[in-house]
């Protein structure tokens, strides 16, 4: 088991090096040198320019620059924002809970609806229910979610007036951030109506972000269930006279879930890409919106650091999924 753990962790090292090289190269590939980027429109004397280049180490050979960049990373230095002058990592971790809260809600919706939908569709294969669910899943999978979000705003915020247009909570409420999760903090604050406000702000973005993972999980669950339901041991369980619900819910589902867990893990990247669009539409103050805003503000150190941190989080989640996969499916460990 330990060998399995170690082998999975070791595989990540070359990927991490590659990802850090991409982030390192990003700023150097931009037109103009880093100091010119930082000074923006201001005119700078050539001598002053050279002095700053030297001070920041940009006149050293590239491999030295990369090594000192890596050294900084290991000490938590992911760069400094040109606009706010604050550390990129600090900013990242203040904004991250907002994205995490949104993503967790989305994945709960996606798994909570997608797995049962896929199971029922597989059990009732070929029925109207199956065709309806799979049709809806294909529409969800094909959905341009930035448009889907705008439609929901038109309907629920514009026409019906049920939900706010954007943000995380109404301006009426102010309380300290304890966990960074608005749902928990609003409860802790004890202010009347704060929790309701947080929920009403969260619901539409969660639905939008959940759409594609929901469709993928429903389709994957259905095909995994169909495969498993044809296995001999399922027939044996049926032949033993076990209740249908037990055969489907325990014997079949447990094995069908193995590929589904992998699919859920793979959705983390989809969620991060979705968060870029969802947060932009709903003015959700998370990582995705921060990245888009930074691209537009030409705050390149933020883009560089954020890119690396996001890739690291995705790699970490994939590692956890991989390890979980080894725990629930012993055959993988043996290889």
């Amino acid at each position: 088991m330990l060998r399995f753990f170690l082998s999975r962790v070791l595989v990540l090292i070359p990927t991490f090096i590659g990802v850090s090289i991409v982030a390192f190269a990003f700023i150097r590939l931009l037109p103009g040198d880093p100091v010119a980027l930082m000074s923006g429109e201001r005119v700078m004397a050539a001598s002053r320019h050279a002095a700053i280049m030297h001070e920041l180490g940009y006149d050293r050979p590239l491999y030295m620059q990369y090594l000192s960049y890596l050294w900084g990373l290991f000490h938590g230095d992911f760069g400094t924002s040109i606009v706010t002058k604050r550390g990129v990592a600090t900013q990242f971790f203040t904004l991250f809970p907002a994205t995490l809260e949104l993503s967790l809600c989305a994945i709960v919706i996606a798994v909570g609806l997608g797995v049962p939908a896929g199971v029922f569709a597989a059990v009732k294969r070929g029925s109207w229910f199956d065709q309806g669910i799979m049709g809806a899943a294909l529409v969800g999978y094909s959905m341009p979610i930035f448009w889907w979000g705008l439609l929901l705003i038109i309907l629920f915020s514009g026409v019906l007036g049920w939900t706010p247009v954007g943000g995380r909570i109404s301006l009426l409420y102010y309380f300290p951030q304890v966990t960074g999760f608005m749902l928990i903090d609003s409860l802790l604050s004890g202010q009347k109506g704060a929790f309701g406000s947080a929920v009403s702000h969260l619901i539409l973005p969660s639905i939008v972000l959940a759409t594609i993972p929901l469709a993928v999980i429903a389709r994957q669950t259905r095909s995994a269930m169909l495969e498993v339901l044809g296995e001999d041991y399922v027939r044996t369980a049926k032949a033993k006279g076990l209740a249908r619900a037990r055969v489907v819910g325990v014997h079949a589902l447990r094995n069908a879930l193995i590929p589904v867990v992998t699919t859920i893990g793979l959705q983390v990247g989809v969620l991060m890409a979705g968060a870029i669009l969802t947060e932009t539409i709903f003015s959700w103050p998370g990582i995705g919106k921060w990245m888009v805003d930074s691209v537009f503000r030409r705050d390149y150190p933020v883009v560089q650091g954020g890119l690396l941190l996001i890739a690291m989080i995705i790699m970490l989640v994939n590692l956890v999924v991989d390890l979980l996969y080894g725990v629930i499916n012993p055959r993988v460990r043996a290889k």
Binding site: P14, T15, G18, V19, I21, V22, F26, L29, L30, G135, L138, V139, Y141, S142, M143, P144, F146, W147, W148, L150, L151, I153, I154, G158, G269, V270, M272, A273, I276, L277, T280, M291, V292, V295, F296, Y300, V303, L307, I310, A311, I314, M315
Partner: protein
């Protein structure tokens, strides 16, 4: 059912000696078999019909569009669609904030979406297959290096990487297409490499090698045609992904730039009118959804027809 019996009859079931005159060329037979499985999937046929209509719309755009896509009209700003009060037959789907006909812009927009899809897929497929063939055929450290590089590309969320690449290259449709092709090609590398590795030990490859085929010929002529099934399915999926990602980049202001009638860019321009003019927002997105859905339906049908495991016979 009658189809199966007809096919069985063609294959000479029941007779020991197939009649050489009635035998069809293997290529023709493969196509017929393919169409048989594909057309069993009603959704796939529907998708194909819709996609054909989109292609026709794109080709015949100047004939179909009632107005020029760039023609503004100061007297007809934000006119609602014809069926709503205030709508007019001049502008069937209404006009946008500067009085351009939405229907005409949508019709011309189909050209951009299809163009983006075709270019991105052609680039991603050809680069991906070339790299995948080399990785799978050569193996060793070349393979290791290539696959680690692909892992790195796949470690980033595709839209984020595309966004950052466009930030480096500069916003615009061409750069958006380059960025999307780059983030989509690792899938083709992986697929090609996997099939090449399983195919290259087969006897027909050894036979070709013994006869003296060059490595290039072995890779491209001998092995590649036998790996095409999954690649075609992946290419279809990439086609729809390319359209979605390009629209998303356009929506974020990093893809095609206004006044290009690209659907995602049209949505970006329409964002401020979501409370007042629903039609400006609704129709471009609907066009994206219908096109992408049609392509994905075709993709499902192709998978049924090309994946031997899925064949139920």
């Amino acid at each position: 059912m009658s189809h199966i019996t007809a096919q069985e009859a063609e294959e000479g079931v029941g007779t020991d000696l197939p009649d050489p005159i009635q035998r069809k060329s293997p290529r023709r037979q493969m196509l017929e078999e393919f169409w048989y499985y594909f057309s069993e999937n009603r959704g796939a046929v529907l998708g194909l019909v819709v996609f054909a209509l989109v292609v026709l719309t794109a080709l015949a755009a100047p004939l179909l569009a009632p107005h020029s896509p760039d023609l503004t009209n100061n007297n007809a700003q934000l006119v609602p669609p014809v069926w709503q009060t205030g709508g007019s037959w001049t502008y069937l789907l209404g006009t946008d904030a500067i009085g351009r006909d939405i229907l005409s812009r949508l019709i011309y927009g189909s050209r951009y979406s299809l163009f983006i899809g075709v270019v991105v897929v052609v680039v991603a497929v050809s680069v991906g297959i070339a790299i995948g063939l080399v990785a799978g055929y050569v193996g060793g450290w070349v393979d290791t290096v290539i696959m680690r590089v692909m892992d790195v590309i796949l470690a980033f969320p595709s839209l984020l990487l595309a966004l950052v690449l466009v930030a480096v290259l500069g916003p615009g449709l061409t750069n958006a297409m380059i960025a999307i092709a780059l983030v989509l090609q690792p899938h083709f590398v992986r697929l090609t490499r996997a099939s090449v590795m399983s195919e290259k030990r087969r006897e027909y490859v050894t036979a070709a090698k013994v006869v003296g085929a060059s490595p290039l010929r072995l890779m491209v002529v001998t092995i590649l045609p036998n790996c095409l099934g999954p690649l075609i399915v992946q290419a279809t999926l990439s086609f729809s992904n390319a359209i979605l990602d390009a629209a998303a980049l356009g929506f974020l202001g990093m893809g095609a730039q206004p006044p290009t009638p690209e659907w995602g860019t049209m949505l970006a321009e329409a964002r401020e009118f979501i409370q007042s003019a629903w039609w400006v927002v609704t129709f471009p997105g609907l066009a994206i959804l219908i096109t992408v859905l049609a392509i994905n339906l075709i993709g499902d049908g192709l998978r049924d027809a090309l994946d031997p495991k899925m064949k139920r016979s």
